[in-house]
């Protein structure tokens, strides 16, 4: 009974397909922008992420509640996939065949230690630090935007973030959009933060 109730609250696979097919152009754009944002500073492509999210929605491996907006649902699916892909990339062991004797019988499979080596960690840390600085430098002419960015990257959100910037709600939203637009234009696709 409980399962049946739960099922009634979820869209069927056909309903999901119809809902996506019926999306208006701004929603397609919104999905693409969200995919691009989630792919930033990652090593995968927005179109691949979109396709994977659509596939999971269409085959029912991710299910959408009837009360949830389909675009928000798809963005949630992409968020989850992007997170998995990033983790998988960090964990992926590299294997190589080593044949010291030159014969097939003598082949040894070397599996790379999955923990980041010191140099990798340093490179990754430096990269993240550089990226953070590059983003802040992008707003060198705008103290408020810099404050807002620092707050976001430090984990401050919502009302607390708004009061940190001392902006009205409208000004705050406008500033956030301005930040997004400038980042969009400043960084090439693959390296965007």
């Amino acid at each position: 009974m409980q399962a049946r109730d739960t099922g009634a609250l979820l869209l069927t696979e056909l309903e999901v397909k119809r809902a996506i097919s019926a999306l208006a152009p701004p929603s397609w754009l919104r999905l693409h922008k969200a995919a691009r944002a989630l792919c930033r500073n990652a090593h995968f492509d927005a179109e691949d992420l979109l396709q994977e999210a659509f596939e999971r929605a269409l085959d029912g491996s991710r299910q959408c509640s009837r009360t949830l907006d389909i675009v928000h649902f798809l963005v949630g699916v992409m968020r989850s996939i992007a997170s998995d892909w990033r983790k998988a990339r960090r964990r992926r062991p590299e294997m190589s065949l080593v044949s010291p004797t030159g014969t097939l019988q003598g082949v040894v499979i070397k599996v790379r230690d999955q923990r980041p080596a010191a140099d990798e960690w340093l490179a990754s840390t430096q990269e993240a630090t550089c990226l953070r600085q590059a983003i802040l430098d992008l707003f060198a002419d705008d103290d408020v935007a810099q404050r807002m960015l620092e707050g976001i990257m430090d984990g401050i959100a919502g009302e607390e973030l708004r009061s940190l910037t001392q902006l009205s709600q409208t000004q705050f939203e406008s500033k956030r959009r301005f930040i997004r637009r400038r980042i969009d234009k400043a960084f090439p696709q693959e390296r965007k933060p």
Binding site: R30, L38, R115
Partner: protein, 146 residues
């Protein structure tokens, strides 16, 4: 420990990405369209293309699954004579083992099944088929040992 530091360094960028996504979700349709026009952004086309590709992939995957499950299944209404003689005999033996009374009626009281010719076997299976009592099974499935 090392990995925690790595994640910690990544977190500020992840938070920023999340804020960008939130802003995208909060932006009005009109603003998104004007942004796309200003940037010559073909994102809508790219997304639709990804959706169409995903739809095709899912359709093909389902088709392949259906084929896999249909492969090896023989519809009982099909041509019994297309079965190889050994399989046909196996089906008949199975039926007779589970329905001795009905089998006796069809075979006309013949009990020495090993003396039946292939033609007899096909004929009896066809008779059973006509009566609608032959159950569907995999073509390569041997006699049911239940």
């Amino acid at each position: 420990m090392t990995r925690n530091k790595d994640s910690h360094q990544q977190a500020p960028i992840d938070r920023l990405i999340e804020a960008l996504v939130e802003d995208i979700l909060a932006t009005s349709d009109a603003d998104l369209l004007s942004e796309a026009q200003a940037d010559d952004d073909n994102g809508a086309t790219v997304t639709r293309r990804a959706f169409e590709r995903a739809s095709r992939t899912i359709a093909l995957r389902r088709l392949a699954q259906n084929r896999r499950s249909a492969r090896g299944r023989r519809v009982v209404g099909g041509n019994i004579r297309a079965l190889d003689p050994k399989t046909a005999r196996g089906w008949l033996e199975e039926y007779m083992a589970s329905h001795p009374d009905a089998a006796r009626k069809v075979s006309g009281e013949r009990s020495a099944r090993d003396r039946l010719s292939d033609e007899d076997v096909y004929g009896m299976l066809e008779a059973l088929q006509k009566r609608g009592v032959l159950k569907e099974r995999a073509a390569d499935q041997g006699p049911d040992r239940r």
